[in-house]
């Protein structure tokens, strides 16, 4: 089977600083890939290249055979969840999902609201439909953001440190939501520092350092890896 995401020798620099250096990999349908690594390793840039939020300087990214040339080229097919949620503050919870459905998919209002209500239910926010994002907790906001991204029926979901700005207990709610997605065989790529999250459901772990892939394998292989750099990093975040 062809890979769903194919990353072919991509490089990316900001000025003279090389953030990604000749990265290649493939992600299959239904695979769950966790991207870890020290700060400044290029994790966020990497994941943002997968949906065109960042343009690569060299190399190419294709999603389901389609080249990723800009964020609009794969919009909708690749859902993205951000560290800072990026919900639309002027829409209620239900409209954060229904409004994009109406605008982008031209869905009639009742149908969009029904679909939005379904998605709210799936992230256990049915009772918050009429509330504005600012009145929701961080965990609720992030679950809403996940539901919003899912509304476009994407093939792939990208998570850029989805729980980094949340308290541990709120992060847990978000884990559960992501885990449910994982069980539904959605293809997931997530950047995270939370090794518990990685341990629980990522079959494959990518360790980035200085913009290059330093390790690509299973979680167990990672924790038993002998390389001192990996061991040192793990000691800090997964004691």
């Amino acid at each position: 089977m062809d890979p769903l995401i194919r990353v072919d020798r991509i490089s990316k620099s900001y000025g003279s600083h090389m953030v990604l250096n000749d990265i290649s990999l493939e992600v299959r349908q239904g695979e769950i890939l966790a991207v870890i690594g020290p700060s400044g390793a290029g994790k966020s840039t990497f994941i943002r290249c997968l949906n065109g939020l960042e343009q690569v300087d060299r190399g190419s990214v294709t999603v389901a055979g389609q080249p990723v040339t800009s964020v609009t080229s794969v919009a909708g097919r690749v859902g993205m969840v951000f560290q800072q949620f990026n919900l639309f503050p002027h829409y209620t919870a239900i409209d954060n999902i229904a409004a994009p459905l109406r605008t982008i998919k031209n869905m009639p209002r009742p149908q969009a609201r029904d679909r939005a209500a379904e998605l709210l239910e799936s992230v256990k926010l049915a009772d918050k439909a009429g509330q504005y994002p600012s009145t929701l907790s961080g965990g609720q906001q992030q679950r809403l953001a996940i539901a919003r991204a899912l509304s476009m029926s994407p093939d792939i979901m990208l998570f850029d440190e989805p729980t980094s700005s949340l308290d541990p207990e709120l992060a847990h709610e978000v884990f559960d939501t992501i885990q449910a997605l994982a069980r539904s065989h959605m293809t997931l790529v997530l950047v995270t520092h939370q090794m518990n999250m990685v341990k629980n459901f990522a079959a494959r772990v990518l360790f980035l350092e200085n913009g290059a892939i330093f390790f690509d394998g299973t979680f167990d292989a990672l924790t038993t890896a002998a390389d001192p750099r990996i061991r040192q990093f793990l000691k800090k975040i997964y004691p």
Binding site: N86, I104, A149
Partner: protein
């Protein structure tokens, strides 16, 4: 010194009419300024040919860096040189709205640019196009940011209408001065005029607060 306001009673209808003129000019000019500022602010926020941006920039800088009084004189007395003859009230409304529009367009522009970059990213990822992002996501948020400042300009506008008295418009300031010339009681007349301005601007301020509170239910 004794204050006696009773001499003003015969002038009350005249003052009321003048207050109406002031308010009418103020409201019309503000609405026009709002249109100008949104148009210019939005255009200058977009990716337009440099010449459009340049010309709009010239407009904004000229009107922000010259006195309003000179602008009013130019529009009323200067434009007839080019065959453009305006009534005093039209000249006043054009002058006031172009002047405030220049300032307010910068408020609109700043509000648009202060909308978080993450909002664009989230919208683009969902599949919004540039135009949809601007209309559905950026503008409503910018509106909230700009609203209090724009409303401030409304009260400023009402006060600035006193300058159009130089165009022989029978608005509050001019009528006040005429009454003063007849009665030679500057204290009473100017304190009365001041009070009328105060009531008008303060009412507008209260209205603005109400609009902000009732009109926008969400918080960032």
């Amino acid at each position: 010194m004794s204050l006696d306001f009773s001499f003003l009673i015969p002038y009350l209808p005249q003052l009321a009419a003048a207050a109406r003129v002031t308010l009418t000019i103020g409201v019309f000019s503000f609405v026009l300024a709002l249109v100008v500022s949104v148009l210019v602010g939005v255009l200058r926020s977009g990716r337009l040919p440099w010449i459009v941006n340049f010309l709009l920039g010239i407009y904004v800088e000229i009107f922000r860096n010259t006195p309003l009084l000179i602008q009013l004189f130019f529009i009323y007395y200067g434009l007839p040189t080019f065959g453009i003859v305006l009534t005093p009230v039209t000249a006043a409304v054009i002058g006031l709205s172009l002047n405030s529009g220049a300032y307010m367009s910068e408020v609109v522009r700043a509000a648009i640019s202060s909308v978080n970059k993450g909002q664009y990213e989230a919208a683009f990822c969902l599949g919004y196009n540039r135009y949809q992002v601007f209309l559905h996501i950026v503008l409503p948020q910018a509106f909230r940011i700009a609203l209090p400042t724009l409303m401030n300009y409304f009260t400023t506008m009402i006060k600035e209408t006193s300058l159009v008295s130089v165009l022989s418009i029978a608005e509050l300031t001019r009528v006040g001065s005429q009454i003063y010339a007849r009665t030679l009681s500057p204290f009473e007349i100017y304190i009365t005029i001041g009070a009328v301005y105060f009531v008008m601007t303060y009412s507008v301020a209260l209205l603005c607060r109400w609009v902000e509170k009732k009109g926008i239910k969400w918080t960032p």
